[in-house]
């Protein structure tokens, strides 16, 4: 953020500039639309924080099977919880996603970006009073990546070949050069625990601003302020309560009656009704999360690129954003990177709904009969409706899509990544490399489009170790074009995170990293007296 945009942000905080003026001038200064929108939201809330109060969060996504062990954290509730009681080595900047020091003070790569040295912060205490050492860091990272690991972070740690403590510094060696290694350590599973959490993975002891007081999985989790917090610019409320509320109506009722001060996963359809309540404010963030329809490029009939192109032209993206997201999102261009990522390739032509081109490609592919699309409500909110819309817009191009609604139970084991044409969602990752390596590299576990392109793989590996920004940006541009024109991903929309809070909730930061202010909502907000 340069000085000019800082000045604009200051004007907003002082109350002297409205949203339209700010975004116009910020974009003229070079910020992307998304970053400008998010920066406005943050600045408008920036005042002096007041300490005190109890924050109650009513969150969707908890279950009686949740565990405090960060290795097993998958649900939204445990995501927010782990961000409150633990810290990772690196954090991401809320607007630019650039890596920022957290428990690691600084880092430096070797010339080939294969070996990285991290200086670990000293004088940080765990909740039980013990001091955090580099050995704790090494033990934690090893627990999430060794051969016996059961962690949800194992996938992102795959490229690491050794983790060592060399003279108090953390030294990490990779199997190939990676200019973005620090970004990997922002993964929410990788909070540093005493001795890696090997003895007591579910103790919930970390270095974060809040200490775990009680935990009833799928029901309620309470925290109290950590008086020994190594940072003073966070954790303003005295205590936090996370209540699991999986029913959308219950969340809205609880927020409207003031029983909780923040809720997540607000259904776009109910937004107009919710914002009518005088005590409620909407908190939206644009991020990199998106919804997709994925085809297996190595299975007939989707191994024919003309059929894939036909389906890509047969989807009405604007309509999807309007109807499925209620306008809270942006159209996608069939590759998974949007302007919230560093080195985003600008100026790629936006593909739009074109029934003629779709019919042309369909005819050229020589495919006859219907195409079977598998979908379910758990693929993404509104997935079934979206599939029906897709079916209708494809019909106008002469393509017959048959929809099979699969049961939600078992969808992620038996349909996604198994069947050749299905609906799914993706969250965002810290860097383009992380995303492409996890889902588009030909050998990736989560390559749900079976995209096996040698040129793409070569570009990905060279871009990873490339330290020249301009060269890197060009490589990522070429990769995006390959995915867009030859891949199996139909990406109609990027979804905004739609949350809501009471009007007395201040300091909410629109963090593009992930939902709920990248999970840091509890430590960033305070109450207006």
């Amino acid at each position: 953020m340069n000085d000019f945009t800082k000045y604009l942000a200051g004007r907003v905080t002082a109350g002297g500039m409205n949203r339209r003026e700010f975004i116009g001038r910020a974009m003229a200064a070079g910020l992307t639309l998304t970053a400008a929108g998010n920066l406005f939201a943050t600045s408008a809330a920036a005042q002096t924080p007041k300490k005190g109060g109890t924050l109650k969060l009513g969150l969707e996504g908890g279950a009686a099977t949740d565990s405090i062990d960060p290795a097993k954290a998958t649900s939204q509730v445990m995501f927010a919880a782990v961000r409150s009681w633990g810290d990772t080595l690196v954090e991401t900047h809320p607007q630019t996603r650039a890596p920022m020091p957290s428990l690691a003070e600084s880092w430096a790569p070797s010339a080939d970006a294969k070996t990285w040295t991290f200086k670990i912060r000293k004088g940080v205490q765990f909740h039980d009073g013990k001091e955090m050492t580099t050995d704790d860091v090494v033990a934690t990272l090893k627990r999430h990546s060794d051969s016996k690991t059961e962690s949800g972070a194992a996938g992102v740690m795959k490229s690491i070949t050794s983790i060592e403590n060399k003279g108090g510094d953390l030294v990490v060696t990779l199997d190939s050069g990676n200019a973005d290694l620090p970004a990997i350590f922002t993964d929410y599973h990788l909070v540093i625990q005493p001795n890696g959490g090997i003895d007591k993975p579910t103790a919930g002891v970390g270095t974060g601003p809040y200490k775990v007081k009680s935990f009833e999985p799928g029901v309620r989790m309470t925290f109290e302020k950590n008086p020994n917090d190594w940072r003073s610019d966070r954790g303003y409320v005295d205590s936090v309560e996370i209540i699991t509320m999986n029913d959308a109506t219950a969340r809205i009722a609880a927020l409207s009656s003031g029983q909780v001060q923040f809720i997540n996963r607000v259904d776009p359809k109910t937004v107009p009704l919710l914002t009518r309540a005088p005590t409620v404010q909407l908190l939206t963030t644009s991020g990199g999360g998106h919804y997709v329809f994925i085809m297996h490029c190595d299975k007939a009939p989707f191994d024919n690129n003309d059929l894939r192109m036909a389906l890509k032209y047969a989807i009405d993206r604007e309509e999807m954003v309007k109807r499925i997201l209620g306008g809270y999102g942006k159209v996608g261009n069939d590759f998974p990177i949007n302007d919230t990522y560093a080195l985003f390739p600008e100026g790629i032509e936006q593909r739009s709904y074109d029934p003629d081109k779709a019919a042309f490609h369909y005819k050229k592919s020589g495919h006859s009969g219907s195409v079977l699309l598998r979908t379910s409500e758990v693929a993404f909110p509104g997935a079934v409706d979206a599939s029906v819309l897709f079916q209708q817009s494809a019909k106008k191009a002469g393509i017959d899509i048959e929809i099979k609604r699969e049961p939600g139970d078992g969808y992620w084991s038996n349909v996604w990544n198994v069947q050749p044409f299905s609906a799914s969602y993706w969250g965002s990752r810290a860097t383009q490399d992380q995303f492409y390596s996890g889902a588009y590299l030909s050998t990736a576990d989560w390559n749900d489009t079976r995209f096996k392109n040698e040129t793409f793989d070569k570009l990905l590996i060279s871009a990873r170790g490339e330290l020249d920004e301009k060269k890197r940006k060009d490589m990522y541009r070429e990769m995006a074009m390959l995915v867009r024109d030859e891949g199996g991903t139909i990406l109609p929309m990027f979804n905004d995170f739609v949350n809501a809070g009471t009007k007395k909730l201040m300091g909410y930061v629109s963090d593009i990293g992930n939902d709920m202010s990248n999970g840091y909502v509890a430590s960033r907000v305070w109450f207006d007296a």
Binding site: A63, A64, T65, T149, G152, A153, T202, E216, P217, A254
Partner: protein, 335 residues
Amino acid sequence: MSNSTEAGGTPARSQRERFPLLTLIFERFLLSLVLLFAVSVLIFAGVEALPGDFASTYLGQSATPETIANIRAELGLDRPVVTRYFDWLGGVVQGDFGTSWASRNSVSEQVGKRLGNSLFLAGFAAIIAVPLAICLGMLSVHFRDRMPDKIINVISLAAISLPEFFIGYLLILYFAVNFGIATFPATVYEGMGFLERIQTIALPTATLVLVVLAHMMRMTRAAILSVMSSAYMETAELKGLSSWRAIVKHAAPNALAPIINVVALNLAYLVVGVVVVEVVFVYPGMGQYMVDAVTVRDMPVVQACGLIFAAVYILLNMLADILAIVANPRLRHPR
């Protein structure tokens, strides 16, 4: 069964005839054990038949083949089905329900808490609903075919026709959001005082009462009405007994058997079948707990919940049968 006669006295009777109640309880108890065993086999087979196992479902999208294999190895999920079942059974007969695969906590501890919550809510709803239903039933017999009877019938039919989540949402909207006099959400947690708990569960209790009231009330009314046409009721009326006294003291006791059965059925529903109410009011009961466990195929938890639900039904049915015998003097003192 001995049929030998003794000179000059009543014939000796078998154990079954002399202690009908005790024999019944004993036989039922044995049958229950067999039933519970069968239930455990069915649940185990059912969960196994579902696609995926705990290892592949727990980490969801974040799973890699290595983590899935590691989890399987740690929990012994790669062993054959029969081995795993008998392993679990062996633990259960010694009183050890195992540890939850998801949270690594003791199952009995976790289930105990949630069961306690469910029983608390069901108990309160029952204490209010059962006497109310029987009284309203007797009232509607007393005023049969007149205004009060018609009103009671219409309101109770409406309550039972509306889905329980709809009733729940209506109550939340009016009493919690608009008037602000009721507590929402109804989440109870450890350390809450007794009075605070009662206040918190006011809305879900009201919902459950409305849901089960109609069934019990209408059965009470029907059972008593069918008795009203018998000869002795006509005698009572001719003898000048007040209508109310005749109903309560003479008709109702004879109509008890079907009423008891309906009450037992509804009590079992209150414990076992209220997942929807739990979700709407965010109440931490057994229903939601079991659903969450089935979703990730957490077998020890699913088995424990299944057995408890089956035991609740069996126990309530047994109680209903016993009470039906106790309420009938002819069965109580057989000659």
